[in-house]
Homo-oligomer: 443 residues x 2
């Protein structure tokens, strides 16, 4: 702690609100399994006695956000009364306090609603910490002493793959060249790909227009949603591949639509369009299924990507152990915040599998850019095979919206974790009492 070393930042209140955007009205975000999402968030604000606030969220798809809100309220009792100093001086202990409460762990453990709520709360704590240090979160991580960083991670259940010493070794090795990589990021930004061109619910005309616009703006990597209808997918992939040409990168994403055999046969039919990866071919829980798919698709030069619904480090550990994925898609809101994502990034590095974050939704780009910047500067030291998802929606609701320049994420400069929303946006979109919803529900 530097500037605010004398400030304890005692947490006096945690509030949480149910904020929903009616994205389903225009089929934004539509895929083979989520046909009509209303991008939403359980939005958390931490108040401290110093006046400093922390902002966090977890992403949801509309209905059921109130359940996550209820879970955040249940966790709040473990947070109020603690000080930031107290938390970060034993962050592993605090992490475990939230995830291993003797009564509440039955509801997970470390999965589903309770883990989403943990993410929202801890994202707000990390935001508070970065603000207390007057740094953007990625810079807080870059500057952090490796020993302190390791003390934030719960190694329970992953020591067979990553011990505390392994983690420390990785972080120490990455100290070399760190400043150069930070300078490079500030200069060039982190490479991104776009998913905004080819949601499943979009018409061919929309695809064409969005693709043309994206190419003009400098995008070179494109993701297409597939999985509902094979003939449709062939037509859409052909269209996109023709638009972007043979040298740009195409990825496809089935959002868990298939069983194992179906995934292999369906993707084989799309191999002609040279996708780099097939994302979420089957159940996010099916490690061995992903391993079988990976093995079958390797000869076609197609990798498997997954992670946005991979619920904790124990699952990621096994995906890596089983060679079940070739691209690790961390998510800023699915697992236990920065703490658990650090464990995942370190394990991915150990297995030399690139991290290519999941993003989009609402706030996910704002949050995850910090993690992937740190992954490059402080862990992997490589951009090879790496890129971060970008989706061009809902950024206008944030006080420090993500900045994209030439298809690269520009490192944020404002202190914090970039997920403070405009109070006016929150008020208008609160469910069901905000003006937007009052109007829609009264229709």
């Amino acid at each position: 702690m530097t500037n605010c070393a004398k400030m304890q930042h005692g947490i006096v209140n945690v509030t949480v609100r149910d904020v929903r955007f009616p994205t389903s009205l225009e089929q934004h975000g539509s895929d083979a399994m989520h046909t009509d999402p209303d991008y939403s968030a359980a939005y958390v604000v931490i108040d401290t006695d110093s006046g400093l606030k922390g902002f966090g969220l977890t992403f949801t798809c509309g209905k059921g956000t109130e359940i996550v809100v209820c879970a955040v309220k249940a966790l709040s009792g473990l947070v109020v009364g603690k000080s930031l100093q107290e938390i970060v001086s034993d962050f592993r202990g605090f992490y475990r306090l939230l995830t291993s409460d003797s009564q509440m762990r039955w509801l997970g453990p470390e999965k589903g609603v309770i883990q989403l709520a943990t993410a929202a709360v801890l994202n707000a704590v990390w935001d508070l910490w970065a603000r207390a240090e007057s740094k953007p979160l990625w810079k807080l991580l870059v500057d952090m002493d490796p020993k302190q960083m390791v003390s934030c991670i719960d190694f329970r259940y992953i020591t067979d793959v990553l011990t505390e010493k392994d983690a420390l070794d990785i972080l120490m090795r990455a100290q070399e060249g760190k400043q150069l990589r930070e300078d490079q990021m500030l200069r060039e930004g982190y490479p991104a790909y776009t998913t905004s061109c080819a949601w499943l619910g979009y018409s061919d005309q929309q695809l064409r227009q969005l693709c043309t616009d994206a190419l003009r703006s400098g995008w070179t990597k494109f993701k297409v949603k597939v999985g509902a209808d094979l003939e449709d997918d062939i037509r859409r992939c052909r269209l996109i591949r023709e638009m972007i040409g043979p040298d740009n990168t195409l990825m496809i994403d089935a959002n868990q639509r298939w069983d194992v055999a179906e995934a292999i046969s369906w993707v084989s039919s799309l191999a002609q369009f040279k996708p780099l990866w097939i994302e979420e071919p089957t159940s996010p829980d099916d490690i061995l299924g992903h391993a079988a798919i990976s093995k079958a698709l390797a000869p076609l030069g197609i990798g498997v990507a997954t992670g946005e619904q991979c619920h904790n480090r124990v699952m990621f550990k096994q995906f890596l152990q089983a060679s079940a994925l070739q691209f690790v898609q961390i998510d800023s809101c699915r697992v236990g915040s920065v703490n658990e994502n650090l464990a995942v990034m370190l394990m991915a590095h150990k297995f030399q599998v690139p991290v290519c974050p999941h993003s989009g939704g609402v706030g996910l780009c704002e949050l995850v850019q910090h993690l992937i910047l740190f992954d490059f500067i402080g862990v992997s030291a490589s951009l090879s095979g790496r890129m971060c998802e970008y989706v061009d929606h809902l950024h206008e609701h944030f006080t420090s919206p993500v900045v994209i320049r030439d298809a690269h994420y520009v490192p944020p400069k404002d202190p914090g974790y970039s997920c403070e929303m405009l109070e006016s946006s929150v008020q208008r979109h609160e469910y069901p009492e905000g003006d937007v919803w009052k109007q829609l529900l009264n229709k």
Copy 2:
């Protein structure tokens, strides 16, 4: 449908209540990870226009039950307005309606709070169905046409191990000798083991007394909680083994306390007491970890048992594929009710791994006895290596409490799924407004 074929049983209302028992006051249920559980339930009642009701629940450990209650309310919207006829004529479709709602599946999918809530709702639907047929649930299952049974199961994500045809074949083969096995169950009951003697929080004197009583009552199989302290475990296991003698069966249960290497070394130190199995040695998500532990302990003659926190059929599939368990511990409230447990029992049969249900908590014995009776009569046709957990708590709160005779579950005779609670018990234990809690919270 027989008696009530003409009755649609239209569902007009779903209510859910937060019912908690202050079991932590006496350390009932204490283990290495759940040191002070208050056994609780999200308790569901379905009202129909015929006047017939369905009762269901999911088990919880106290704090956070309100989150499951909130999730049940969110699911209720998908249930009210349907009729029992409509549901059971396409039960797979109804199952998927609950588990794959386009917006809510993000909260799982099929795991954690939302899956616990699904279990509670579907348990009530199955109770309603059994009552409509005037049969105990196990008998409804035993008499069900295999084709109809298969139509209740969602095979998504498990067809690489169990297809609809595989399931039908297993059920058809088990038609042979079914009546004999039903008669045997009615005569002898289903073999049980007891966990009531050796909770972690009990004193040695309590252990001795409870063990003596249990031996007198005819118990021959005993489970001991371990994992907090090795020396303690050695003392407790020695004490129990001495009490029960070399011929009775001892199981040990670590409730997820260890990492993989620690599990292997710790259990090796307890091998001298000849446990049949080590239960939940590590994270319930760690399939490959359980596989490593299974492999290491096999030469010691100790099997691995797990399942009470295994959140869906996809996870059970992999545990079986990876030879990661030697005893499948289904739970009546963790996965998607009878529908998903049927899938698990059929997969276990395919791999020839015995099903030994998890039970205890509140209501779990009442519920799971139906499933294991059906497993014997209609699926496995074997008692070899099989037994059902029994815990002697909280049965007095049910209208049709479980009956144990000579350490065997006596098949229930009352129509339904046996989880209707006494209204007086519910009222007294509702949280936080019931008398029991008003008194405790005002202390």
